[in-house]
Each structure stands twice: as structure tokens, then as C-alpha cells.
């Protein structure tokens, strides 16, 4: 007797087989994987130390020979190699968006499961808090947290988690409301299983798939917002390179060194586009009804 088999089976490995039918989504996954490999292998791939300054070679355009090697993407205002810094920058940008999104999804799914299953006044209260989050401009909330505790990487990640969980609650709760009324859940309850067991073994596997869709869209969003925080001077602090703060630093040299702003920004665009097309494909696979999740 295993009641969880009454529900639809979890998608599991077949997701990847389905994904192959979406060429754009597959391309997105490929670009994302490549970026991840680049981030991990940055020390091996970077032609120079991303922190090494060479004042004699400052603001050199792409293709110039700097210190005996070709700076394919030029050098910045301190003569540092832009290509090496973009490679290293991928580490922080991916780390921040990846960890943040995982944390936000974990919190949101847990709250959504609990509040949807329990219902009643707890549910109403939680949903008002979710509404509140959606009403307060995110960027201002982030500014507050960072201004208060300082722009360190853990604080930035914490900010994204604290502000990023509400969409998951909405998504999960709506599905739990339906599933908790199904017979197999009732059967589990009748058998005397604990709420915790019902939630984790019977409900969770049947609501979890669409979470991946929101995860991908949110990851692209956080990647972009990390840059926005840097742009406002509240992101990862220099000299550590992130795509966002490279772009922000390059802003002062916009008139004579376009590559300092355009190229790190282009890295964000490529990465965010890859994640978004992957998310689109996942959404089509998991649940066509999720189409309005983007808003």
C-alpha cells in the first residue's frame, strides 16, 4: 500500500528528453552550462590575473597588445584585462543568482505548502504578506537591506532570498489547494499519516515541477538586478569583479571606452536570455497554464 503512487508520477529524467524537442530551450541550457563551466574554470581560462593593474595600458581598445598578450576585449581604467575580468565576473554573478534563487525557492515552497494545506486565517495572513511584498518596490527594499548591513555577498544573497520567495508561495499554494482535496490525500489522512508526511510525500512531488519554471525566470531576473544594485553603488564592491560592478565602474568612461560598459552588459544579456529561453521551454513542458508567470 503506497498511496503516493495514486498521484501523477514526478517528471524525473524525462524532462531532459522532452527538452530536446525545444531547440531554443536546449540552446539556452547549453549556453548556461557553458557559462557554468567557464565560471568554474576561470583561473585556467583567463589569460591574465583579473586584478593585475597596468596603468601604462589603461583604457586600451579591444585587440591591443598589453604586456605581451592580446587584450581581446580591451583594458579598463586601471589597465586590467577586461576578458579576464568578465571570466572571473561570471563566478560571482552565477553564484549570487544561483544561491539566491535556491534559497528563495526553498522558503517559498515550504511556506506555500504549509499555508495552502493549513488554510484558514494563517493562509489569509500569509497571503496579505505576499501581497505586501509585491506592492513594495523590490529595488527599494534591497537598497534598505544593503544600506543597513553593507554590500557584502552574503548580505546581497540574503536580500534576494528575503525578497524573492513570494512568487513560489502563490504558485505552490494554488496547487496545494486543489491537491489537498484529492482522494489519495484524504486516504493518507484517514490512514493517520502526519501532516508533515502527507505534505512531503504526497503533495510535494505533485506540485514541485512548475517551480523549476519560476526558478529559471527568477534567476534571470536576479542576474539583472544584481547588476542594478551595482549600478546604484550597492552591489558587490570593487575590486572583486562581477558583471554588474564592471559595468558600473565603466560608466565614467562611457565616452571614450564603450567596451567597459557594453561588454559586461552583453554578458548579462546573453546569460539572462539563455536562462529565459530555457524557462520558456520548461514552462511549455510542465504546464501550459503557467504562461502568465512572467508577469
Amino acid at each position: 500500500m503506497s498511496p503516493q503512487q495514486t498521484g501523477p508520477a514526478s517528471a524525473g529524467p524525462s524532462v531532459w528528453r522532452y527538452l530536446l524537442r525545444y531547440p531554443l530551450g536546449t540552446a539556452g541550457l547549453a549556453v548556461l552550462t557553458l557559462t557554468l563551466i567557464v565560471a568554474l574554470a576561470a583561473p585556467a581560462l583567463a589569460p591574465t590575473d583579473p586584478y593585475r593593474q597596468a596603468i601604462a595600458y589603461r583604457l586600451e581598445p579591444p585587440g591591443t597588445v598589453v604586456n605581451g598578450h592580446v587584450a581581446w576585449l580591451g583594458s579598463d581604467h586601471l589597465g586590467r584585462d577586461v576578458w579576464s575580468r568578465i571570466l572571473y565576473g561570471s563566478r560571482l554573478s552565477l553564484l549570487i543568482s544561483g544561491v539566491s534563487v535556491a534559497g528563495a525557492a526553498f522558503v517559498g515552497v515550504a511556506v506555500g505548502l504549509g499555508t495552502g494545506y493549513r488554510g484558514g486565517w494563517v493562509d489569509r495572513a500569509v497571503m496579505r504578506v505576499v501581497d505586501l511584498y509585491l506592492a513594495i518596490p523590490f529595488i527599494l527594499l534591497a537598497l534598505f537591506v544593503v544600506a543597513l548591513w553593507g554590500p557584502t555577498v552574503p548580505n546581497i544573497i540574503a536580500t534576494f532570498i528575503v525578497t524573492g520567495w513570494p512568487p513560489y508561495v502563490r504558485l505552490i499554494r494554488a496547487r496545494v489547494l486543489v491537491i489537498r482535496e484529492l482522494q489519495y490525500v484524504e486516504a493518507a489522512r484517514a490512514l493517520g499519516q502526519s501532516t508533515r508526511c502527507i505534505l512531503s510525500r504526497h503533495i510535494f512531488p505533485n506540485v514541485v515541477n512548475p517551480v523549476m519554471v519560476v526558478v529559471s525566470f527568477q534567476m534571470a531576473q536576479i542576474l539583472i538586478t544584481e547588476g542594478a544594485l551595482s549600478f546604484l553603488g550597492l552591489g558587490v564592491q570593487p575590486p572583486t569583479p562581477s558583471w554588474g560592478n564592471m559595468l558600473a565602474e565603466g560608466r565614467d568612461y562611457m565616452g571614450n571606452a564603450w567596451w567597459l560598459t557594453v561588454l559586461p552588459g552583453a554578458a548579462i544579456v546573453v546569460c539572462a536570455t539563455a536562462i529565459n529561453v530555457l524557462g520558456d521551454a520548461l514552462r511549455d513542458i510542465f504546464d501550459p497554464q503557467l504562461r502568465s508567470m512572467r508577469s
Binding site: R128, L134, F144, I224, G265
Partner: protein, 306 residues
């Protein structure tokens, strides 16, 4: 209908009340004594203590909160520390600029986005449709701070066609509204496309076609009206968010709206102004949100909120 209305008003009021607590607390936990900030570094401890008393900062937090709510209801949210004027009229004076920017960018995005979205749904297997969808995803993956900087580099620095920043003329408005419209455009194209595709599959559309109506009439009369309900909701929510100030775009172009004012106030620790601006943007968002929900019920009788 009446019950839904009352329920919605209560929910909105609760959200506003929660927001007031959050905003109140956020400003109390921020480092720096507001009395010291108001008087400057050279003030004597006695003067600071007197000012603290005057501002009510020596009372307990619940008392302070009650005073805050009471004066907020009277439209008084304190004095701007920098500008030395009441913060509510000061913040409201920036509202027209934000309204202008939000209006023009939503206008551009709607005028361009809805036709593209409809056409890419009705011609879904054409190359143009694929290009439109791809561009829409790209638009949503492009950070607006980056797009703004690129547009400035090209059209202001290199070509000298348009000013880099500023306010007052049509030329000033072009780059910021295009920057802001770009993201919205992607959103509107995508939503319109999926909604139209959805409606195209409905039975009554098949009936309309079966009774011999020309394709164009089916699309414009039967499909679009139903598809646009969801599009309208999304646009409404975006307008609600934009009216609170497009922080990034306004900062890139030094556009004197609510968003730029808020960021400057954060940097300058002008807390009463931050408080007023955030409260105003939450108020706008909540009101528009509730309004869109109700509109939804009115426009589409099938929708019911339980």
C-alpha cells in the same frame, strides 16, 4: 459583486497597513539619529535631546507608530531633511515627471507590442513570428541600465542627436521612454501572443469561422476582445509599478521623477522623503491592483473571486 468589492477594499487596506509598519520600522532600525541628522554635526547634545523630544523620538515605539499613523492620515509625513520643506508636497511635485515617463513608455509599448503580438499569434508558424518571439525574450533579458547606457553612448555621445539627460523637452523624453518601453514591449508581445493563441483555440472561435465570417473579423472582433483582458491586467500592474518611479531608468537619465528622488534621498539619508515616496508608490500600486481585479470581474463575467 458588492461582497467582492468590500473584500478587495479590506485586503488592500490590510496591505497598506502592513506596509506602513514595515516602512516605519525600516526607518527606525537604520543607523543614524534623525534628530542629529536634522541639526547637523555641530549641534550640542542639549539641542539634539530637545529635537528628539520635539520629534517624539524619546517615546516608545508603539507610541511613535501611533503618532506616525495619525499624522500620515492628516497627510503629514514630516519634513525633508535636505530641502527643509514638508515631504508630502515635495515628493508629489516629482510625480508629473514620473507620470509623463510612465505614460509615454507604456504608450509606445502598447502601440507597438499589441499588433506584433496579435500578428505573431495569427501567423504563428511564420519566420516573422519566430523573430518576434525571440526579440521579445531578448527584450526581457536586457537590463534597462545597460540599454540606457548603450543608447546614450550611441545617440548622445557618438551621434549627438539627443541629449544624454535632462527634462523639459521632447528630445529629453525619447531615450528614457524607449529604454523603459523596451522591457514592457517584450512582456506585452509575449502575453498578447499567448492569450490570442489561447482564444484562437476556443469553441466559439471555431463557430465564428464555421459560419463563414472572414478571418480578420474573427480575429479583431471575437478573439482580440477576449484576449485583451489578460493583457490589460498585465499592463495595469506594470503601470502601477512604474508610477512608483522607474528607479533605474530615471537614475540613468537623471530624470527628475519619484524613482530618482527616492534614490537620492536614500543616499542623503533623507528618511522622511524615502518614507513618503515608498508609501506613495505602495498606495498607487495597491489601488491600481485592486482596480484591475475589479475591472477583470466586470469585463469577464466568468471570473469570480471566492
Amino acid at each position: 459583486m458588492g461582497r467582492i468589492l468590500i473584500q478587495r477594499v479590506i485586503d488592500s487596506a490590510v496591505v497598506l497597513w502592513l506596509a506602513s509598519i514595515v516602512i516605519f520600522l525600516l526607518l527606525r532600525v537604520l543607523p543614524g539619529d534623525p534628530a542629529q541628522l536634522l541639526l547637523g554635526d555641530i549641534a550640542t547634545p542639549q539641542a539634539v535631546a530637545a529635537k528628539r523630544h520635539e520629534l517624539g523620538l524619546d517615546r516608545s515605539l508603539p507610541e511613535q507608530y501611533l503618532i506616525f499613523v495619525e499624522s500620515a492620515l492628516r497627510g503629514d509625513l514630516g519634513q525633508s531633511i535636505r530641502a527643509q520643506v514638508p515631504s508630502v508636497p515635495y515628493v508629489l511635485s516629482r510625480f508629473p515627471a514620473t507620470l509623463l515617463l510612465a505614460g509615454s513608455s507604456v504608450g509606445i509599448a502598447v502601440l507597438v507590442g499589441i499588433p506584433i503580438g496579435v500578428l505573431s499569434a495569427t501567423h504563428r508558424y511564420s519566420a516573422a513570428s519566430t523573430v518576434a518571439t525571440g526579440l521579445a525574450i531578448l527584450a526581457q533579458s536586457t537590463p534597462n541600465y545597460w540599454l540606457g547606457l548603450v543608447l546614450i553612448t550611441v545617440f548622445a555621445v557618438a551621434l549627438h542627436w539627443l541629449p544624454t539627460s535632462g527634462y523639459g523637452t521632447v528630445q529629453n523624453l525619447i531615450l528614457p521612454s524607449v529604454t523603459l518601453a523596451f522591457f514592457l514591449l517584450g512582456l506585452i508581445v509575449r502575453i498578447t501572443r499567448t492569450e490570442v493563441l489561447d482564444v484562437l483555440g476556443q469553441d466559439y472561435v471555431r463557430t465564428a469561422r464555421a459560419k463563414g465570417l472572414p478571418g480578420a473579423i474573427v480575429v479583431w472582433r471575437h478573439v482580440l476582445r477576449n484576449a485583451l483582458i489578460a493583457v490589460l491586467t498585465v499592463i495595469g500592474l506594470q503601470v502601477g509599478a512604474l508610477l512608483g518611479g522607474a528607479v533605474i531608468t530615471e537614475t540613468v537619465f537623471a530624470w527628475p521623477g519619484l524613482g530618482y528622488l527616492t534614490i537620492q534621498a536614500v543616499y542623503q539619508r533623507d528618511y522622511p522623503v524615502v518614507q513618503t515616496a515608498v508609501l506613495l508608490s505602495v498606495l498607487i500600486f495597491v489601488v491600481i491592483n485592486a482596480f484591475m481585479d475589479l475591472l477583470y470581474v466586470v469585463v469577464d463575467p466568468r471570473v469570480r473571486y471566492d
